[in-house]
Amino acid sequence: MSSTRTYTAYARPLWWRTLVTRESAVITLTALVIVYSILNVPNFDGPLTLKFLLQDIAPILLIALPMTLIIVTGEIDLSVASIVGLSSVLLGVLHEGGLSIPVAGLLALLAGAACGALNGFLIAYVGLPSLAVTIGTLALFRGVAVGLLGTKAVTEFTERWTDLATGTIGPTSIPLVMIPFVVLAIGFSLLLHFSTFGRGVYDIGLNDEAAHFTGVDVARTKLILFVLSGAVSAFAGIYYTLRFGSARGDNATGMELQVIAAVLLGGVSIFGGRGRLHGVIAGVVLIGVIASALRLESVTVNVTNIIIGLLLVASVIATPLLSWAATRLPRRSPRPEETTPPKQATPAGV
């Protein structure tokens, strides 16, 4: 956020900067929880646990990819779960109307991209705040989904396709849905971390005016991100529908907050400009593992909520808490003069 932070960041040697990061903290924590669960939770290393764990978190994993890029630009997309619901309903309605699953799925994907384009247009070109716009489209897309199907549900799907959604890769217990996820994860990593477009995404998050002057097409970048978010959410919706064999208007209600919680837990700053995809993926897995381990321990699902909430709060207050503690401890090695950053008035971003 402030320039002083950038300078002090370079005060550490390279190995420190690459190894001691928020992302590695999340990954370490995830690994510790996994090891602990394998050792102490009965049946956690059973074959079905991994399958169900991955199937459960797959939609969140998928949507977290574009959501990370959007939050890095300093925007937010609250409408993703509604797009999941809408694409689910469209798939059901179109399939019932006689279209095959691939054709209906393609149309649902296009509809998802169109939903994302509407968000992106209002945010990037009209210049409206994304929080407000996507609260509006959250209601709008969910409303269309519920309006199209009412309280009915479409449950007749070609078995070949539902088998595909619940199937695993050969004899392993890794669900098939992990293949498109890995492809998308590599794609999004390349886009965010190894492309000019990705540098632009960070620039926008740090300072969108400066990004504009360095030649980043801010509006176009945001529009593309929201379209991607819509399309990936629709894909997650299609997977969700086929996995449970049920297209309903209220599918995946409230999932947007789960996705955002996972992304923030993974070390992405809500102010934008900071965060990496591997941290986010670890964040989603962490939540999934905790939920799964607690379920096996037959602890009620409710405790999971408390733990996720505590982790989320801890993940944001850890940094200020540590830097406060650092000012109280005697310095061991001399470090460049650290000018105190101007006292921030409030958390500026909503």
Partner: protein, 361 residues
Amino acid sequence: MTPPTEVTHADGSGATASEVLLVQPSTLSPARRTITGLLRSRELSIFMVLIAVTIVATAKNENFLFSADGWRNFLVNPSLLLLLAVGQAVVVITRNVDLSVGSIMALTAYLTGRLFIDQPGLPIIAVFALCLLAGALLGLVNGLLVAYFNVPSLVITLGTLYIYRGIVLSWAGSDRVNAGDMPSDFLALGNKAFLTIPVLTIISLVVLAVVGYYLHTARTGREFYAIGSDPDAAVLYGLDVRRRIITAFVLSGALAGLVGVLYTARYGTVSSGVGSGIELQAVAAVVIGGVAIFGGSGTVWGAAIGAFLLVTINRALPSLGIEDFWQRAVVGVLILGAIVLDRVLSKRQESKLADARELSA
């Protein structure tokens, strides 16, 4: 809508020749200024939409307004969301957001039921006080975290949304509090009316009036706006930013706590799922009512009308011949329409200020 202090300032030729004013002080009389201000206000436009919806719905179906039940529902149904919207508006004006209100509401709703079951002798007023206090405490947690760690309220209250909901889920489990568990005096409160105006509506209107008057006239009330429009400037100006932000969250929490009790009185049954998702409705009401999501402008009056409109539209749709499955889509269109309208209005204001600046330069 201009506060009295500005009126004296405009009349009392406070501006010397050396002072460059971007906007000339109005030469109209205070009364006319109030009227034109009211006519041009953002709140009026949303109020007209509310009136129009009500008229059309009543024209289609007289019972919408002109029946004992219709009138009562017209007034009672919005009152809970209205209270949440008032609290949310104060938080949003300071450039924050409180997503935990639905979970706070669920906690105090269940607390109400438990108090009546476990402490049968407890007077109703004590239950109200305890729930208000509980809500205020939960809000205080939000406020302290946001104000002292300089972290975004969206993240903190998203976290406490899960934590508070988790607490009520583990506390209540699948247990339900039913009407039979509570004294009839308390439940009657949900249906009682005074001069045909339901008590619940009166409570929410009184809260609205107090908060609205405070924000509009009190010095500390105006500070909420100063903090929201420029947090850094507010610090430099010497405002106690932390204290105001904590106050905003405590108020929002306390009102959510109150809503929990009123919900129990009105509906008689409480399960652990009460109020899930209502936080986004409260934010929606605030946005529709013209409070800028980035703080610093808008009024609780607007937020209250927004809440009223949201609930009324939902009830009006069936009588307008639209299946009520579509109500959320209509709400979505309404929110988008409201923020586009705000954008247009602020553009106009901006160009007006820019013109004035050019003239004075």
